[in-house]
Point group: C2
Chain length 428, copies 2
């Protein structure tokens, strides 16, 4: 073989890039053309891309962020009231997505905030609750700021019980929390705050949480990576579908729930709640995703996306290399967007809507997950969204919802461009 690797001895091949006309003309003459999908980078982003990709720290920074994300080994370790688990003050409410003021909150978010104020006894009527929220007597903070995530409206108040997940790969263990999922029907996470909704939340605090806590103490930490990997093999994608994972968790805990010392009617109610709530595992999955994404935070120069979330008004992202700053854009039509919440943390770590779209998403991600696979593909799920690839290709992360069959959420492209520019400004 010649030094050209036999290049001149082979049939020539035409490779076409860009405008289709020349390739079409050749193809009409029966010349085989290999078309390469390539687009020039968006003109407005060239400068920022050059700065970030030219940053000598960049490649290693992204590799480090991806490595930490993939190394996480989240375990479900406890179930506690948010006040204890998150140090949440009684007059603070957490909410999904980037920071939000009451004035800008959409309907479902307002409903959930009002419900939480009523649940905490901070007001005795919805009107009084609205006033407390409007005047700042009750303060708002994003869940993400307290190492927490929550689905839909994503409101957490001090007396709500949360699943506590720890990453066993870090010493001391990193921790993240997500509330116990309310189950089907009217729910605070959709903005409802009627007596049934508040009543169920009180039962969850009085019965479900304590029983699960005692069961988990008896059982010991639950390895959520093992459980999630198994569930992916059983048809879950762990955002819209968590039925297999919920059943696997029920199987893990059922005997210890029965032995937790609660009265039989309470035991039956807890088991009925878990087996009738296909989404229950989503809380554990989201906390596991949060603790994994948080492991990738704070690597200077890295454009790895470590959070995507929506508060019903704004959609926002955070990057590993830009600290706690949110880059935000409109969440889209108010009613539709209210379904997003923090659960896009599942796509942030390559699960949920990313799972069936792994091949396309692999074009904007840093790595394949070493454990998570979605049959029949032998490849790992596409993990670690790279803001430079998103801006460079124009391929947006696909974001699902917890409602099977619902249209995926399309994030506003400009938030990724803004995040990239902020990262570029940090290049020395």
């Amino acid at each position: 073989m010649s030094r050209l690797g036999g290049l001149l001895g082979r049939e020539p091949v035409v490779v076409a890039v860009g405008a289709p006309a020349p390739a079409e003309a050749l193809e009409q003459r029966a010349v085989a053309v290999l078309r390469v999908r390539w687009r020039p980078p968006p003109a407005a982003a060239v400068e920022a891309l050059n700065a970030v990709l030219g940053d000598p720290r960049h490649a290693q920074a992204d590799a480090t962020a991806a490595e930490r994300l993939l190394a996480a080994r989240p375990h479900l370790v406890d179930v506690r009231p948010a006040g204890q688990a998150l140090g949440l003050e009684p007059d603070v409410l957490l909410h999904a997505g980037p920071p939000l003021e009451w004035e800008r909150a959409a309907g479902p978010m307002r409903g959930a905030l009002i419900g939480a104020v009523l649940l905490e006894g901070l007001a005795s009527s919805p009107e009084e609750a609205e006033r407390a929220l409007a005047c700042g007597a009750v303060r708002l903070e994003p869940c993400h700021r307290r190492a927490a995530v929550a689905p839909m409206a994503g409101v957490i108040s001090a007396s709500m019980w949360v699943l506590v997940v720890e990453d066993a790969a870090e010493r001391p263990p990193r921790r993240a929390c997500c509330p116990l999922l309310e189950g089907p029907g009217e729910a605070l996470r959709h903005g409802a705050y009627g007596p049934q909704v508040i009543g169920r939340l009180r039962w969850m605090g009085a019965v479900l949480g304590p029983v699960l806590r005692r069961a988990l103490r008896r059982h010991g930490p639950v390895d959520l990576v093992a459980l999630a990997a198994q569930a992916l093999q059983m048809g879950d994608e762990l955002h819209a579908r968590t039925r297999a994972a919920t059943l696997l968790l029920l199987g893990e805990l059922a005997a210890d729930i029965a032995a937790a010392g609660a009265p039989p009617p309470d035991l039956a109610a807890v088991l009925r709640f878990l087996s009738g709530n296909d989404h229950f595992f989503l809380g554990a999955a989201m906390a596991a995703a949060k603790v994994s994404a948080d492991a990738a935070r704070g690597v200077p120069g890295s454009g790895a996306v470590v959070a995507m979330a929506c508060n019903g008004t704004d959609f926002g992202v955070q990057l590993s290399g830009t600290g706690d700053r949110w880059f935000t854009g409109p969440a889209g039509p108010r009613e539709a967007a209210s379904g997003i919440g923090d659960s896009a943390i599942m796509e942030t770590v390559g699960l949920g809507a990313f799972a069936p779209a792994a091949r396309r998403m692999r074009q904007i991600t840093l790595a394949e997950h070493p454990v998570f696979r979605v049959p029949p593909s032998p490849a790992g799920t596409a993990t670690g969204i790279d803001v430079t690839r998103v801006v460079r290709t124009g391929i947006l992360p696909v974001i699902g919802t917890a409602r099977p069959g619902a249209a995926p959420f399309e994030p506003p492209p400009q938030v990724f461009a803004d995040a990239l520019r902020a990262l570029a400004r940090q290049v020395r």
Copy 2:
């Protein structure tokens, strides 16, 4: 288009059947050849095939048998001691497969029979049990004769608890039973009869059975077709893999188990047994398969296979059109064959090892199941084995075991030829 359907206007195509030489010669001359896999019927079977296929009742008989098999809607309705559910006398033991005498029983079958005699208190030592079995003081009968099936050695005695399955499609409902599966480790079904094995069987009769019975009474009948169809979507094939189905059943029953009024330690033990016993659902699946296959029995002229089973010494089949007669052949090497039992009833109805092999098995079956599908195939599972197709093609039904990864059992071909000849002799 001409009356020949455009045949003469198209490029001619060569279709090759039989010996490969002519097709190869044409292919070497770049002539496209459509090769049809066809073999002449085995000479010894031509007469019987002609008789059965020429029987004017045959096509309709097979259609009727397949229709009844596919129409079955088995529900889990009760859990009871075999003595009550099957009218089983205290001195009768049921066993897997076709009829068997003690003298011809293989090691694992002997062990299981001895264990059952000890469990029933019919003997006080293994030696005494052997004598009782050898002299006929304890009588043997196939499970199939009592509308029952059981895995592996498949021994059922009066005090063992069985799952009772009814076919809601028939009035009065047809019924079939299968024992509660013992769980992992040493077990009677493998021929072990040590104190731990007998102790677990006693616990199953004293605690597990009664708790499940009360739970099922509270819950009402469990639709096993719905549950099995869901489990197939979650990766089970319902013979080697029943984990998803077991979890789905646990999810269905957990709350009613907790409410069944048993002491908490018993509840915890029952839930731990169920969640730690991936094969538990196999008992329900086998009884459901039995009640479905039995629906196809007794259609004069039909060559549909309604039972395949192995007693560790003989493998046997029964046909719809030949009554209760077994057609038997050697089960193969003694130790290997002892793993077969009645669980080939799963393949008899097109599940188990048939599920992943549906395309090949479709060549020897009468129908596609209208509900059962194995992703990613959009086709129904291949259901209703047709003895004429088995003999005609030489393709044998593939039979799995409850041990994942174990080699499938190869049934002796001659039993199908024998069964076909018996069916031929019934043609008027």
